[in-house]
Assembly symmetry: C2
Homo-oligomer: 697 residues x 2
């Protein structure tokens, strides 16, 4: 409130930092950055209850180099102003000097608590039950006086970003120090506008060195089997924690198929052959070599893995809902909060919440998806197929040419189709990613999560198609099982090695030998320099790459498991290292990401489930192609039509069993259902009571 | 309250009715049955706000003939006592004389309103919005002072039954006039106990002659196209109204396939042939007669009907949810109410509602279903197959015998297998029905609706299997399309005629010529005699038979539509008469049933949806058997394997399209979703407010 008085004074209490052009790195006020709230530097808190001895710097805002000090002061004032005056009600610190290019942001207690309610997070009540947090009732929640215990670090940082992203101009206004051409109109999103104008270059959450150290010790330095999921949730947020939980769960659930695969391979005496094959890559086996019992083993493997995938996904749903309960994200209120910053529409009264906000009709979105998004995505999938066809055509042409001419030129030409295909695929993927983003923006989703899910779904379908088109082509058109096996083995080994190298080793080397020398850091450095240094790390690219890796793995395993029984073993080994390398990457090689609280894996769960159903079709087909069956039909024991009918019958039965299994296994444990129903019951009761109260008053 | 004082006095205010052995039918107090609340006969209301000039008799309780007057007086006292004293807080009238065998029950306003809240019904708020009713806030709901407008007749009657069924002894007690061996223990369900002891013979809701007259006029006497669904809901309750809505919706949605079927049959010039065939029943056509274009038409018909069934079911879900909103049953609170009377378990605190009540663990129920119910149902399905196999075996034997002997005896014997099979099937069905009921009782479901659904599902699977086993046998084992067509046509025509006759004509005749003469009724008869007369009508057998008829129809249509394109036309004609005859039956031929409020068709919707998916498999198979395809393969144009592969591909694509369609079409209209989310939002808000209030107080 006091802020409103000083019109031009900026952070009026930041007396030391106020002196301009003070360039010495070890400034006086800076090492106190995380010290005293009312001390120099930090803007004042607007309510007395938020007064605290210590201020925790949460988020760093990096400004453009050409930003003038008055613009920075204005921004600091907006960040600190109360919400009713259009501010974010946060704490801001101008850093080293008032005209420098960073602002450090922290959050007072009241703001955090209000956002906790707005997001619909659940916290522990004084009775020990986990309940939806209510600001009015804050004193009855455990630890609600100590924000660093009450909320996780990731939640606090997300809340700061939530408030900053939600800043909207309350009237048309000009920003001090900016050209007249740049003005904010009423309801403009300030953070977006300033971002596109180059005033704000970057906003990132700050690492907490102590916590990071203890987390990394518990996570990947030792030989521990279990991951410290709660600490991951505390430090990185629930979306990252859900990824690692799933990775963990999935890795352990690979044990049964891996054991089965090993047994089958061992007993069918194929161990050496398989290994030879996959190492040498030579199609050493011809049809006659595959012995009967081995194929029988493959069949067991296939049926097992088809049912296994459904059971695993159902159990994961249960685990996921208990994790979500544990992390307080079971009742997120995103639908009832303000729409995401990028959402636009005509102003109107939201029929659900009764607030005035932009509205966009559902049918318009559906129409856009049906008439624009679906055809465009289809077009790109067509382009993938076109590329593959072109590749095969080109290869045939070049081989013909090579046979005809047999010159050096033609021998070089033989690599042309592959090179061209790789280039084509990569260009296509890059173009597609941009297109997918604009399509999703165009669809204009109201909630951040639904935006994310639709974007992910689009990229996911394309990427998956890209990965599997060749394998499907081999399996269904060429019908060449030995080639499929060879390809699968090489993919499993090569791509995973490549992935691990590109994901971890290269960033590590770059960081160690290129970036790190530039940021010589010592314990005595002032906080601000440490914060600044974090900015030199690359931004975290998101979990898409991690999830798609798992999905592709899962695809290899479930779609073609009957071809190569050792798949599960290889994946298990890969994932055990993957867990550690991913953890290392998260902690050391990237900037800390913002993570919004989520209650599940979103669209990825659906992708895994769809794959698990498609796998039945593909496995039945592959079994049909297996040499044993082929021989049966050649020897005339069964007619090929009867074999086919048998396969179709088996497929239908398996699908039926999977559907029944997934219906019968409840998606949430019984105790979660009871908690959920209890909350529903109490809120119904409350609604009745409230009507009574509102009548009385 | 005043009741509590008089220990033995019975209905202390019923002065005229008190005189015993007064047998004249036109008694003095009787015609006033529906007149004045405080007048003679009715028990007193316990709260002043419920005082009303007129009492509407809702439910009639029929007592056993040997019940002593003191038992009846005790029962009347219990019905009238306040709930905190273990009573039902209803109004009771001893009828003609205090020792007669009926009790007429009515309900005061407060009891009705309390139960409205308990059931979770939604009513119109003063703002015009439909909201969950709250007893505290009753004055703000529209018409809440006039029960006959506020609640429907069906709701009021269900509420009386709900209260009577919920009566529990509050301590161990002896019932006056009953032998000492019969005593109630604490928490015993009074109504159930008295029922099994023969004290209460029957409890049925009373017809309202005026309303019934206007309903029947609007429903089936004229030539009206639309059914008065709201009035049906008002008079018979939502479960009956849902059945008629679905019948209506489904009948109209038969128009497109009927038109298509007519067009195809006409253009392929098969009209006469089909009609001849179905009338004469002779397999006049051999394979060569089926012309190419006709089969092409059948294919169009099959693909159309497969997609049509999904679209219809999705649209029905939307319609169903808007009807449920309209009838105020969208937020039923059955889960939060007392368990159903038949439920038993160890007393404990319900974790959801916090009330003390019998509890039964979920896993125990699951175990019982998995280990007992499923195997037993499977056994009975096996017995159906056994019966069918026996029938075919017997028929073959008898025909062999007839050929060998050719005597009169052997010619009589030829009917033996059919007769035995029919007897066997009927006995099996009867036994199964009893078994299904005990299985469901054994599963011990907490809610009435879930009990109903599980019972229905069991009977449904069996009945459906019974109907379709022969057709499936012909289609999949005999692979005899002409026989299937013949059978289907005769089933469609014959069973529907038989159904209409058994369902309506016979009850009508029985009623008119056997029952009616016994109940000569005139306008001047006292109310009580009219009420008594309703008891002579047979009890309504429930909607199972009606729904299964529709399901079997739907099965003929979707499973075998490509065989007989006129199916939809025949069904359309049948259903147009079915609507009226069902309506007539409901109104005239049966006693009025109790109907609990429901929010959808329950398990029937799932049955229709499952059928619609199975239909894809069966249609693809039948198309494969069609002569055109068979000829293709015989002529060597396509190999039979390729044709089969093609069919499998088409099947998979169709299933995919159906899945996508059912995911894409939202299950509820957008405006319902908004209302639902609004209610969720307000109850979350209320929960927060409530915590505040409870803290303050």
């Amino acid at each position: 409130m006091s802020k409103e008085g000083g019109d031009e004074g900026g952070s009026s209490s930041s007396d030391t930092a106020q002196q301009p052009e003070e360039k010495t790195p070890a400034g006086k006020g800076l090492s106190k950055l995380s010290a005293v709230a009312t001390g120099p530097g930090w803007t004042k808190v607007s309510c007395p209850c938020c007064f605290s001895e210590r201020v925790e710097p949460l988020v760093l805002v990096k400004l453009g180099e050409k930003v003038r000090p008055e613009t920075k002061r204005w921004l600091i004032r907006v960040i600190g102003a109360p919400q009713k005056d259009g501010g974010a009600e946060l704490l801001a610190h101008p850093g080293e000097d008032a005209s420098g290019d960073i602002i450090v942001v922290a959050a007072p207690r009241c703001t955090l608590l209000k956002v906790t309610e707005e997001l619909g997070l659940c916290k522990t009540y004084h009775t020990g039950e986990v309940e939806a947090f209510s600001y009015h009732d804050r004193d009855n929640f455990k630890d609600s006086d100590n924000m660093e215990v009450f909320l996780t670090l990731a939640e606090r940082q997300h809340m700061v970003k939530y408030e900053l992203d939600g800043l909207r101009a309350q009237r048309d206004l000009r920003i001090p120090g900016m050209p007249d051409s740049f003005a904010l109109q009423n309801r403009d999103n300030i953070w977006q506008k300033l971002g596109s104008a180059g005033v704000i270059v970057d906003t990132y959450p700050l690492h907490n060195a102590d916590k990071l150290k203890s987390l990394s010790e518990a996570w990947y330095t030792g030989n521990q089997l279990a991951q410290p999921l709660d600490s991951v949730n505390e430090y990185f947020g629930s979306s990252v924690a859900f990824y690692f939980s799933f990775l963990d769960f999935y890795t352990w659930s690979l044990l049964p198929p891996a054991l089965l695969g090993l047994t089958i391979t061992y007993f069918s005496g194929e161990v050496q052959k398989e290994i030879e094959e996959s190492v040498s890559g030579s199609p050493a086996t011809d049809l006659e070599d595959d012995s009967g019992p081995a194929v029988g083993g493959h069949m067991i493997q296939a049926v097992f893995s088809m049912l296994w995938s459904t059971v695993v996904m159902e159990l994961w749903k249960r685990r996921s809902s208990s994790l979500s309960y544990r992390w307080g994200t079971l009742h997120l209120a995103e639908r009832f909060a303000e729409p995401r910053p990028g959402f636009h529409g005509d102003l109107g009264v939201n029929p659900v919440t009764g607030r005035v906000e932009p509205l966009f009709p559902e049918w318009k979105r559906d129409l856009r998806m049906a008439l624009v998004s679906v055809p465009v995505v289809g077009l790109f999938l067509g382009l993938v197929i076109l590329g593959m066809t072109g590749f095969y055509w080109g290869e045939a042409q070049v081989q013909q040419l090579n046979k005809d001419w047999d010159s050096l030129l033609s021998q070089t030409l033989i690599y042309m189709p592959s090179v061209l295909h790789i280039v084509y695929t990569n260009v296509l993927a890059t173009v597609y990613r941009t297109v997918a983003l604009s399509l999703t923006e165009f669809e204009n989703h109201r909630e951040e999560s639904s935006h994310e899910n639709h974007l992910t779904a689009k990229v996911l379908v394309f990427t998956f198609f890209n990965y599997f088109a060749v394998l499907f082509h081999i399996a269904f058109f060429k019908q060449d099982v030995p080639l499929l096996r060879k390809r699968l083995a090489s993919l499993l080994i090569v791509t995973q090695l490549v992935n691990q190298v590109t994901e971890v080793v290269i960033p590590f080397l770059v960081d160690r030998f290129i970036s790190a020398p530039k940021r010589t850091e010592s314990e005595d450095d002032p906080d601000e320099d440490k914060f600044r240094n974090q900015g030199t790390l690359p931004a975290f690219p998101g979990l898409f790459a991690e999830y798609i890796e798992l999905l592709v793995q899962f695809g290899y395993l479930s779609l073609f498991s009957c071809v190569y029984p050792l798949t599960a073993v290889l994946l298990l080994i890969n994932n055990l290292t993957e867990i550690r390398s991913d953890a290392y990457k998260m902690c050391k090689l990237f900037r800390k990401p913002f993570c919004s609280p989520v209650s599940n894996m979103g669209v990825w769960r659906i992708a895994f489930e769809v794959l698990s159903f498609v796998s039945v079709v593909s496995n039945c087909w592959l079994l049909l192609l297996s040499p044993w069956i082929q021989r049966l039909s050649q020897e005339g024991e069964w007619s090929s039509t009867n074999i086919l009918l048998m396969a179709v019958l088996v497929e239908h039965v398996l699908i039926l069993v999977k559907v029944v299994l997934s219906v019968l296994i409840p998606d949430e444990p019984d105790w979660i259902r009871k908690k959920r129903e209890h909350i529903e019951f109490t809120s119904r009761q409350a609604l009745r009571e409230q009507k009574l109260h509102s009548k009385e008053s």
